[in-house]
Amino acid sequence: MTRYIIRRILQLIPVILGISIVTFLMMALVPGDPVVLMLGQHISPQTVENVRHGLGLDQPMLTRYIQYMWNALHGDFGRSYIQHQAVSQMLLDKIPVTFRLTVVAMVIAVTFGVLIGILSAVKQYSFWDTFATFFAMTGVSVPTFWLGMMLQLLFGVILHILPVSGTGGEGFHLQNYILPGLALGYASMAMYVRLTRSSMLEVIRQDYIRTARAKGLSGRIVIFKHAMKNALIPVATQAGMDFAGLMGGAILTETIFSLPGIGSMLFNAISRRDYPVVQGVTLFLALVFVVINLLVDISYAVLDPRIRYD
């Protein structure tokens, strides 16, 4: 296992390098000049030249890339063209927000998704199964934007029990993440319901479950100890991928709830050609995906002792 982990970590190097080259090329090739986007109305040729020089954009692309990577190796990801803040600091500010939002959303999605999914499988074709299907359908149908607004209105404006927006200041304020977590987690939750249901239905028809029941074990032990462990393998895979995806993709939720996270930072940076920020976020997200993939693979071994990597 240790050798496997070391091998996977070493594989990170070419992956990150490849992603950095692709991102750099893409940002350089897409139309739109960052200097034009930065400058407002009064554009004089001297101003354009000064800004271009100040950003190093008058250098050849290869020189810029090598310089960027050299600095990145020393922990310097450059400065935002727009805010002039160090990208590393921007990432440090925003990663905790996105991480908290993702964790809350995942906890909501997986906990409720799995429980409802199990209920739906165990009580197949019952009212609960129909309810779960309805729940899943609405989850994937309701737009996050609309759901977020409704949650704000109900819990923030009418009932005054949860904040409408923001992070609540420094540190972790759970109450500020519940509504965005719900809005973000609902669509995923619906998917976990369906995934758990189908996986569970497959598992509870296996011989070892029949054996467990024949041994006289209670239904609860059979489901939660024997069936659930195997039924959760596809859920774990999906959860891993979702976690990585949400770390970079919760743009709408971050926007509606005014959460300063990675998603909206990347979106803004792309639309304003803020190359250093795009590079920094992309490299960070690549790292997240690779690490999460590794953790998911390791979790297989924990969930199913027959899986070995040595």
């Binding site: 139309p31 739109g32 000049d33 960052p34 034009v36 986007l37 400058l39 407002g40 109305q41 009064h42 554009i43 004089s44 040729p45 001297q46 101003t47 000064n50 800004v51 020089h53 100040g54 950003l55 400065r79 727009i82 805010q83 002039h84 803040q85 160090a86 600091q89 921007m90 500010d93 925003k94 737009p143 934007f145 609309w146 607004m149 409704m150 704000q152 209105l153 109900l154 923030g156 404006v157 009418i158 009932l159 005054h160 904040p163 409408v164 927006s165 923001g166 992070t167 200041g169 971050e254 926007t255 509606i256 709830f257 005014s258 300063p260 909206s264 930072m265 639309s271 304003r272 050609r273």
Partner: protein, 548 residues
């Protein structure tokens, strides 16, 4: 639990609005109450919670280029002069008075004694010289150093050939002499832009590259304004506190917190929840609903911005065909588009200058919607009923509103026989295409940096701005000469007469159709008083107060 009928109506209204946004529908218009908020005896204290849509980019004066940065920056940094928020007249600020030399090239500013930086030290002439040298420097790469352009030596400093502006001279600690390359009537007004606001350079030096970023601290942003910097939580909020040693009139609120939103609807929900005192932008498609939901709590503020449809005069079919340009001007019905697409929240423009700008001519007769005249001019242009006229490319930078407006205008043009093909681009590519002349007919807007007609007319209609801001590639030697006269004429009455003539000539040449003056609907709480919003769309935090 939801016993309250109002609560239900809010939910239903918002559900409908959210659904409308999702389906891309607009709403019909109705008038809102205009003007500033009510006034009675001011109460001191409290925190003004300002709902701001989108984050400021940077708070260093040299980078106060976009609206939100300017909004906060103008409270932190006072300049030598400021604008009266109601009349936009240029008034003394750090400079208590100024004199012109006989040739009008040199201005002597007399600096007010006792003006304090936020660290308690006094502002002196050398501080202003240091700040301005930094603003003009090549390495600062400021996009807003334009107010200093008329000063002798600017080009050398801006290109890196010199370190200090030779046109700045400290006479004594309280007297600053500024020499211009030539008389410039707009110079004094341009000094009200917060980019030339005064701050303590030692703070900037201490902060290094972090100056003006969210990493700023009260020890690095040391301004001269009525409020001092406290903290900036990136993409969340900016807090400023009342500066007790401010030289100007007494400020009423203790603190202003600019809460930053990415989505207007969220800010409105926070306002409904009682977490905000003011919101500066409304969600598209919901403006009339908001006016009805908050009667007497909205202001329609007409900004010094003109939105127009420009014609590329260097290319067919608009080159040398003023009749075709006039035909389009007569075919376009801005008022109906305001009532439908723009929710009644805009003003129809009557020419290049927006109402409220010095030199604005309310009697200017630019063509307005007249279908018959449009057909008449189309025939004069050589295309009776549009026959023989190729499909015109009509470009706009993509926003939902721009798209809807373009579609509405496209329909109006089709009615007289003018076929257009819509083309949308994102801003970066769009502006580059316009500057390089890769356009036929396009949508653009210009907002005043400072309240002077030169900032509109020279920027948009002088040949010197080809490839920069004059994207119609308009050139008229008479106008060019008048623009030069207007800039150097220091007699206000004579100057305004020059700009009146310029406008008439530009309108006669019709390089554009001036469609709208941008108008913002802004929402304030019942406890908010004496909130003055200028035509530059700047809200004056020095006068506002909150009732208990």
């Amino acid at each position: 639990m939801l016993r309250n009928r109002k609560a239900w109506s809010i939910i239903i209204a918002t559900m409908l609005s959210a659904t409308l946004i999702l389906s891309g529908c607009g709403q019909t218009a109705a008038p809102a109450k205009d003007g500033a908020t009510t006034s009675s005896k001011p109460v001191d204290g409290g925190t003004f919670r300002f709902g701001m849509i989108s984050s400021p980019s940077n708070l260093e004066p040299a980078f106060l280029e976009e609206n939100n940065g300017i909004e906060i920056g103008k409270e932190l940094y006072d300049g030598l002069v400021r604008y009266d928020p109601k009349t936009l007249e240029t008034k003394p600020a750090i400079a208590e008075k100024w004199d012109y030399s006989a040739d009008k090239k040199t201005i002597t500013f007399h600096i007010r004694k006792g003006v304090k930086f936020h660290d308690g030290t006094e502002v002196k002439a050398q501080d202003i010289i240091d700040d301005w040298n930094r603003l003009a420097a090549k390495e600062t790469a400021s996009p807003v150093s334009f107010p200093l352009e008329p000063i002798v030596g600017f080009k050398d400093v801006n290109s890196g050939a010199a370190k200090t502006l030779s046109g700045l001279k400290k006479v004594d600690d309280y007297t600053l002499e500024v020499t211009l390359s030539e008389p410039n009537a707009a110079f004094l007004t341009s000094l009200g832009h917060p980019a030339v606001g005064i701050y303590k350079i030692a703070g900037a030096t201490k902060a290094g590259k972090d100056f003006g970023t969210p990493a700023s601290t009260p020890e690095t942003i040391i301004g001269t304004g009525a409020f001092k910097f406290v903290k900036w939580n990136a993409d969340q909020d900016v807090t400023i506190d009342k500066f007790n040693d401010y030289y100007g009139n007494k400020v009423h609120v203790d603190k202003v917190v600019y809460k930053i939103y990415k989505e207007e609807s969220t800010a409105i929900n926070d306002f409904r929840a009682g977490n905000l005192d003011y919101v500066d932008r409304m969600p598209p498609g919901q403006q009339q609903a908001i006016i009805k939901e908050f009667p007497g709590q909205t202001i329609k503020n007409v900004a010094l911005t003109t939105e127009y449809i420009g014609f590329n005069l260097n290319k067919p079919p608009f080159k040398d065909n003023v009749n075709l340009r006039k035909a389009i001007a007569y075919a376009i019905d801005s008022k109906s588009v305001i009532d439908t697409v723009r929710e009644g929240i805009s003003t129809a423009a009557n020419g290049p200058l927006p109402a409220g700008m010095p030199g604005y001519d309310k009697d200017l007769k630019a063509p307005t919607y007249d279908k018959e005249k449009a057909k008449e001019y189309l025939a004069k242009a050589g295309y009776p009923d549009g026959k023989g006229l190729p499909v015109i490319q009509y470009a706009y930078n993509f926003t939902q509103l721009n798209q809807k407006v373009a579609e509405a205008f496209q329909g109006q043009l089709k009615e007289v026989g003018i076929q257009t093909e819509l083309k949308n681009l994102e801003w970066g590519s769009y502006i580059k295409a316009l500057q390089s002349g890769d356009s036929q007919m396009f949508r653009l807007a210009w907002g005043a940096d400072y309240p002077d007609p030169d900032d509109f007319l020279r920027i948009l209609y002088s040949k010197s701005q080809w490839g920069a801001n004059n994207d119609t590639f308009y050139s008229n030697p008479e106008v060019e000469s008048l623009l030069a006269q207007g800039l150097t004429e220091t007699d206000t009455a004579k100057r305004m007469a020059i700009y009146k003539t310029i406008q008439e000539k530009v309108v006669a040449d019709q390089p554009a159709v001036w469609a709208f003056n941008t108008t913002y609907l802004e929402l304030f709480g019942k406890n908010v008083h004496d909130l003055t919003i200028s035509a530059l769309d700047q809200k004056d935090m020095r006068t506002v107060w909150l009732s208990k």
